[in-house]
């Protein structure tokens, strides 16, 4: 066998191997939520390998000031699993840098999933809805994930060599853990006093929000109807893999359809708030159970 023939045989074997690998990742033109008894919380759960992937192209948020003028993350790869009451989305995107420490001029890796609050043919604006066209958003952030994973809520995490003489809430006259001490601690932290905990210790890395257009983002009502979302993100050398699980969008049943949109913030690119990469609406199909599909 001469070298030329050897080369072509090797090339053919290599091509087969590559195409074989690719065939395991079935891509779809819409997000297909596959039925399963459980929605895995871990982004690395093997169950995610069994469901098709939708590569959603990300666009610049360039409609509302302040805009993102330079594109960063090109696409977010989305897979979805539903158990009939919840739907989990696994979002993966390439990101070499991990940005999970807040600070002046430091921004955080984050992602979000958005669905319309109502199932109707006239969908809201994909950029956070509009007046009377509310959207529900579940937002995940890397520093919240770090907090959930056990990072202490301390200035030393940002500035290891910081030395502070003292804080008023550390005064000797205040008994540790007492109501008076808590009052003193929140006296200098008005956002915390108001329950607006943007940073600090957290029980969940996600937050449920609603919006009626750009600039109107606010916490989702906590009474009946709260999405009660969960999430978990892990960072590899390649990028982020984040699972966001929320209750099924209102009125959505197996076999039904709605729209979903995604956004990704690359902290290393100073992306925050309206400076983000986002998708338009992507059709979301709640794939019926195998038996139901035949009907």
């Amino acid at each position: 066998m001469n070298n030329t023939i050897r080369f072509f045989i090797a090339l053919a074997l290599f091509s087969l191997t590559v195409s074989g690998c690719r065939s395991a990742v079935a891509t779809t033109t819409e997000v297909v939520a596959v039925q399963s008894s459980t929605v895995p919380v871990a982004p690395t759960d093997a169950a995610w390998d069994e469901v098709p992937e939708h590569p959603a192209r990300l666009l610049l948020q360039d409609l509302v000031e302040p805009r993102l003028m330079q594109a960063s993350t090109a696409e977010v790869r989305v897979r979805a699993i539903t158990n009939g009451s919840e739907v989990g989305f696994r979002l993966e995107w390439d990101d070499k840098s991990k940005n999970d420490l807040p600070g002046p001029a430091r921004f955080l890796d984050a992602c979000a999933v958005q669905v319309p609050v109502k199932l109707e043919s006239n969908v809201p604006d994909p950029q956070m809805g509009g007046e009377g066209k509310t959207v529900e958003i579940t937002y995940w952030r890397a520093d919240w994930q770090a907090s959930v994973d056990g990072r202490p809520d301390s200035l030393k995490e940002m500035y290891p060599n910081a030395s502070v003489d003292g804080y008023p809430f550390e005064a000797q006259s205040l008994e540790k853990g007492s109501a008076a001490q808590q009052e003193m601690a929140t006296r200098y932290a008005p956002a915390r006093a108001l329950g607006n905990r943007r940073t600090g210790l957290r029980e969940t890395p996600v937050e449920d929000l609603i919006a009626d257009g750009p600039g109107s983002l606010s916490p989702a009502p906590t009474a009946n109807g709260a999405a009660g979302s969960k999430g978990k993100g892990v960072k590899s050398d390649k990028g982020w893999s984040v699972v966001i699980t929320r209750k099924l969008p209102n009125g959505l049943t197996p076999g039904g359809r709605t729209q979903v949109a995604f956004a990704v913030w690359e902290g290393g690119h100073n992306e925050t708030g309206s400076r983000k990469m986002r998708t338009g609406w992507v059709p979301l199909l709640m794939k019926p159970m195998k038996g139901a599909e035949a009907k």
Binding site: E65, R67, A185, A189, P190, A191, A193, G215, G273
Partner: protein, 387 residues
């Protein structure tokens, strides 16, 4: 963008929101010539408002030495470099000089995709609050301090610039916030960040040219000078005013020039005598802290910092010893912790009053001089000047 009137520019300008002036506008006059940079104001503010976690680096009030002092680093130079052609034109009208800004404001020169022209300091930029302190411009050669010629020309100079939030009429922080978390109170024009609404995007930090909004990494929200509004609501001047040992500050309320009242101390100094000037008016925010400019600093520097009225302001201030009204009003600075929204001079005394005309304080324009005799007859002892 809307079209609004900015009297400090002498023209209309573009702003993110339509003109909506508050019922009253908090304002202040700082006399730079009296500041000794003791930083008592800085500490008064620090201990009152920013002693918490995440606020370690924050100075809502700071005093920096010009030309080489900055907090944060090069806050003004960086923006001035970005802002082209800060030209003013001058016209005479009924014996008054009228100045019009011919350049672009930070709103008008906002790049595509931005609400204002700005830049965002990094944490390292806040690491040198005392940079340039007491450093003078120019080289001081050996023996220069004995040279009359050098002294007359002020070859070497510096001055102290005390700074708080300017509670601007057209705040860039407010315009920058994409979710309306910053508001201007209609009752007194004080600009506040709604700590329940802020999501810590830091757009306001980038937008404010004076860099008086700070991101708190431990709360995840941005915070700023609140003009001690709980004190203002009780008719008391803010902490940095009350504690100023150099008595350089006077807090009050300002009217627009067409409604200026001679018995309003701020109106008198800003609109009528034009001795107190805004800080970087060309940026277009209509800032409401007014400075009596330093009298010994080269015109080219102070004109860029305080606008084209600087020469006349210095001239008026230098003449204060022959100007009983101006001298009298300046004596009122630091004479009471209470707000004095009206004033009057009667002979050798000047009174500060409340809105209803009731007197807060009456002070002599010239302090009486007491000469201590070197020999104390009562105790039959020679006094010494030893401390």
């Amino acid at each position: 963008m809307a079209r609004v009137h900015n009297w400090q520019l002498g023209r209309e300008m573009s702003y993110w929101y339509p003109e909506s002036r508050p019922n009253k506008q908090f304002a202040a006059v700082f006399d730079t010539n009296k500041c000794i940079a003791c930083q008592t104001c800085t500490l008064a503010c620090k201990t009152t408002w920013t002693s918490g976690l995440g606020q370690e680096y924050m100075l809502w009030n700071n005093v920096e030495t010009k030309p080489y002092g900055f907090y944060p680093l090069a806050w003004d130079l960086k923006l001035l470099e970005m802002l082209d052609g800060q030209k003013w034109s001058e016209q005479e009208y009924e014996g008054q000089k009228l100045h019009t800004y011919e350049g672009q404001t930070i709103f008008e020169s906002a790049p595509a995709g931005e609400r204002v022209l700005g830049w965002r300091p990094e944490d390292i930029d806040y690491a040198y609050p005392n940079v340039g302190e007491d450093d003078c411009a120019g080289q001081v050669d050996g023996g220069a301090s004995f040279s009359l010629q050098h002294m007359a020309q002020h070859m070497a100079w510096f001055y102290y610039l005390a700074r708080i939030c300017n509670h601007c009429t057209y705040p860039a922080c407010l315009a920058s916030c994409p979710r309306g978390s910053i508001y201007k109170r209609p009752e007194d024009g004080i600009v506040l960040v709604d700590q329940g609404r802020c999501r810590g995007y830091q757009e306001c930090v980038k937008g404010c040219p004076y860099k008086k909004v700070f991101y708190n990494a431990m709360t995840g929200t941005s915070e700023k000078c609140i003009a001690c509004f709980p004190k203002i609501e009780q008719g008391i001047q803010p902490q940095c005013f009350e504690n100023c040992i150099g008595k350089i500050r006077l807090a009050g309320f300002i009217n627009t020039p067409d409604k200026a009242q001679a018995d309003n101390p701020i109106d008198y100094l800003v609109h009528i005598r034009k001795v107190a000037l805004p800080l970087f008016p060309q940026l277009g925010l209509e800032p409401n802290v007014y400075y009596i400019p330093p009298i010994h600093v080269p015109h080219s520097f102070t004109k860029q910092m305080f606008g084209p009225g600087v020469d006349d302001a210095v001239k008026t201030y230098r003449n204060a010893p022959n100007d009983p009204d101006l001298q009298g009003l300046l004596a009122l600075f630091g004479s009471s912790e209470q707000m004095m929204t009206r004033w009057r001079r009667q002979g050798e005394f000047v009174s500060g009053m409340r809105d209803d005309g009731s007197e807060v304080v009456r002070v002599p324009i010239k302090e009486p001089v007491h000469v201590r005799q070197p020999y104390d007859r009562l105790y039959q002892i020679t006094r010494t000047n030893c401390p």
